[in-house]
């Protein structure tokens, strides 16, 4: 291991950053020597911080669902209500010549009846939060930066798990694309440099300090996050490239431009650590999508709903959670339709939830056109083993809970019931309704009191007065309820009424009245 390090990465050793990293060396040495093949790239970086910046330049567009048929219609998003200008525009608007930053009036002049939407920072912030939750599956240190529509990830410790920077980058990119976003990704050893590379869509992945210096040097000064005045001043002394700036002595720069410029350089190269706050995911995540136009057909909700459910699945995977219930809010103009769904088994898979929602939505009539969807999670459950399992459940049946869940999704949560016998003596209290997944273990193997006396009746009705019966067969006497104040003494019998029904009746010993309790047949 050591020799390979010496051979391949002498340049790393010579740099101060790598010397710092080698303080953690003993820990690395403890690792077992037999490991799956590692490329030297990951090895050199496995101890030190490595930053991945995800830039989402079109987040405002991605956050709007473009209802399928309208894909060709120009859509622009405007900001700054005092002097409206174009924040972003879709492909069709760009082809007509609209560019971000253009005045709205100019954009309207070249477009034929575009859809115009306002830029809403709050929605952008929500989407970044959702994506930050999703990205928590790659590292524990995630930081969304809403003002810049960017998310920073510290991935130095995740490289070995995800097998190198290239594979990790591809995973992050695919995850975000699948959710409907268009990311630009930059990876570097400092957050500042990662931001820069992501913004520029630069292909280099400098993990070492010298490589970073080489990557940055040819870039023009204008890409640096500096005020325009500073850039002009630097241009004024004949500097064009970052490399020329890096060669200047720091102390003189401080004297001439204050501390801002040297600090930026130090943060870019990693000579001065940059604190990056850690993102904590919300306790009850919520997911939201808005449509570019109002939607009237249920069918058009399915695709955006799938996108929300995929976001949900990824977020749950990141937090190692499952959910059992979900609330879907259809947002209309001014009002909201709330739908809830409860499953009998917790789970997180998007396809399973989508199937259930499809059943539920197919029976819904939209009260008003829908402008957006919101998915709320009432509570998160810790994930156990995957309920669907690698194989089918033990007794060989497939998708057992899904079956009852489908019934409940369509008929309502209280439409699927079981009844459990209780020890109460009165027949109407001798059983309790339970939902399919909660069924108490029967307390005793023997008969319950009510069962012992009145035996094998089959059907129960609420007690209702009945005329005195004809010939009857006595069953027995039940007394009960005196401890709750509902004192009852009843003599039970079975009789046949004129229609031929086998009735299960009782006589109230206090009032002498006959009551129908149910049916024997």
């Amino acid at each position: 291991m050591k020799t390979r390090d010496d051979q391949g990465h002498t340049s790393v050793r010579s740099s101060p950053g790598a010397r710092r990293a080698s303080v953690g060396g003993p820990q690395l040495a403890l690792l077992p020597p037999v490991l799956p093949e590692r490329n030297p790239e990951t090895e050199s970086a496995s101890g030190q911080a490595l930053w991945l910046a995800v830039d989402l330049p079109h987040l405002a567009l991605d956050a709007l669902v473009q209802t399928g048929s309208m894909a060709s219609k120009p859509l622009i998003i405007t900001e700054d209500s005092a002097r409206p200008r174009v924040h972003d525009a879709n492909r069709s608007a760009r082809q007509a010549g609209v560019r971000p930053g253009m005045a709205l009036a100019d954009a309207l002049a070249v477009l034929n009846a575009p859809i115009v939407r306002d830029y809403e920072p709050e929605i952008i912030r929500q989407h970044l939060q959702t994506l930050a939750s999703v990205l928590l599956q790659f590292t524990d240190h995630v930081c969304p930066e809403p003002g810049e529509r960017r998310i920073l990830l510290e991935v130095g410790r995740s490289l070995r798990l995800f097998r190198g920077t290239a594979a990790l980058e591809a995973r992050v990119r695919d995850t975000l694309r699948q959710l409907g976003y268009t990311p630009r990704i930059g990876i570097a050893r400092t957050p500042a440099a990662a931001r820069l590379l992501a913004h520029l869509r630069h292909p280099a992945r400098p993990l070492a300090r010298d490589a970073l210096r080489r990557t940055l040097s040819p870039l023009p000064l204008t890409v640096l996050p500096l005020p325009a005045a500073d850039i002009t001043a630097l241009h004024g002394i004949g500097l064009e490239r970052i490399g020329e700036l890096l060669r200047l002595p720091r102390n003189d720069l401080t004297l001439r431009y204050g501390t801002r410029l040297p600090e930026l350089i130090d943060r870019l190269l990693g000579d001065r650590p940059e604190p990056v706050p850690r993102f904590r995911p919300p306790e009850t995540p919520a997911f939201q999508l808005d449509f570019d136009q109002e939607v009237n057909a249920i069918g058009a909700l399915r695709f955006p709903l799938k996108r929300l459910l995929l976001q949900l699945e990824q977020t749950l995977r990141a937090g190692n959670h499952h959910i059992q219930g979900l609330e879907l809010q259809l947002r209309h103009r001014g009002t909201t339709t709330r739908l809830t769904l409860e499953r009998s088994q917790p789970g997180s898979r998007a396809e399973e939830w989508l199937e259930l929602w499809n059943i539920r939505l197919s029976r819904l009539e939209l009260p008003a056109p829908v402008r957006g969807l919101r998915l709320a999670v009432p509570c998160l459950l810790p994930a156990g083993a995957d309920p669907a399992g690698l194989f089918n459940s033990r007794d060989g049946t497939r998708d057992d809970s899904g079956f009852l869940t489908r019934l409940r999704a369509r008929l309502g949560d209280d439409a699927v019931l079981r009844f459990a016998p209780t020890l109460q003596p009165l027949p109407e209290e001798a059983q309790e309704a339970c939902s399919p997944e909660t069924f108490p273990a029967l307390t005793s193997a023997g008969a319950t009191p009510a069962q012992r006396v009145v035996g094998a009746s089959l059907w129960l009705c609420p007690p209702q007065p009945s005329p005195p019966p004809g010939p009857l067969e006595w069953l027995g006497r039940l007394e009960g309820g005196w401890w709750t104040g509902n004192d009852q003494r009843r003599d039970y019998a079975v009789t046949t009424d004129r229609q031929g029904r086998l009735c299960w009746v009782f006589r109230d010993l206090r009032s002498g009245q006959w009551q129908l309790q149910g049916f024997w047949g």
């Binding site: 007794d395 049946t397 497939r398 057992d400 079956f403 009852l404 489908r406 019934l407 369509r410 008929l411 309502g412 209280d414 439409a415 699927v416 019931l417 079981r418 009844f419 459990a420 016998p421 027949p427 001798a430 059983q431 399919p436 069924f439 029967l442 008969a447 319950t448 009510a450 069962q451 009145v454 035996g455 094998a456 009746s457 089959l458 059907w459 129960l460 009705c461 046949t496 229609q499 031929g500 029904r501 086998l502 009735c503 149910g518 049916f519 024997w520 047949g521």
Partner: protein, 208 residues
């Protein structure tokens, strides 16, 4: 086509190079010797059985209890769809049915009832389905017949008397009528052959 197949399945029809009697439908013993003889072994599995009659509560559920108890002994479910009253499970337990395997499905509209029955019949753990249908229409039953064929549950459909006049895709149709201490069962359709004698089967209601 299906009419022709039904005709070919009729054992009274002699076919020149026929293969003899068609494969027997699997059954579950009904618990009544007389009834088993008429039904050629018991209640058919994987087929629809219609029980036509009124009013509710004459013993038409009780006569099925031996079958239901056998289902729960095999750890298969008994599904009650849209029953007119609440099952009193201590009584079911007394007759050998495990209450943990008895599910009640509450559904109001005909469409929901048929849909639930379809889902239930297709599920492999369903042992028996008891559904109370209000409508006279027989068309939705074709869907149920297909679903029943996908599993091997006993499917009992309770239907009002007016349904007897309608044609139906059910395998077995029985009209029941309470008379004194007996329940008369009259087979009005039995795919695959006439009943040996056309007289109704009488089951004593206090036998069980």
């Amino acid at each position: 086509m299906s009419a022709l197949e039904e005709l070919l399945a009729y054992p009274g029809l002699w076919r020149g190079r026929g293969t003899g009697t068609p494969a027997a439908t699997p059954t579950r013993p009904s618990g009544f010797a007389q009834l088993d003889r008429v039904l050629r072994g018991g209640w058919p599995r994987g087929q629809l059985t219609e029980l036509i009659g009124t009013p509710f509560g004459c013993g038409e559920t009780r006569m099925l209890l031996p079958v239901l108890a056998a289902c729960t002994r095999e750890r298969r479910r008994v599904m009650l769809v849209a029953p007119p009253a609440t099952p009193w499970v201590p009584g079911w337990r007394q007759l050998g049915v495990d209450p943990g395997l008895v599910f009640v499905i509450r559904a109001a509209s005909e469409e929901d009832i048929i849909w639930s029955c379809e889902q239930i019949l297709r599920h492999p753990k369903t042992g028996a389905l008891l559904a109370w249908l209000h409508g006279n229409r027989s068309a939705p039953l074709r869907r149920l017949r297909l679903a029943a064929g996908a599993g091997d549950a006993c499917a009992f459909l309770y239907r009002p008397p007016a349904a007897a006049a309608q044609p139906s895709p059910a395998h077995l149709r029985i009209r029941w009528r309470a008379d004194g201490d007996q329940l008369h069962l009259e087979v009005i359709k039995f795919t695959g052959g006439r009943v040996a004698d056309d007289k109704p089967v009488a089951i004593r209601r206090d036998d069980y």
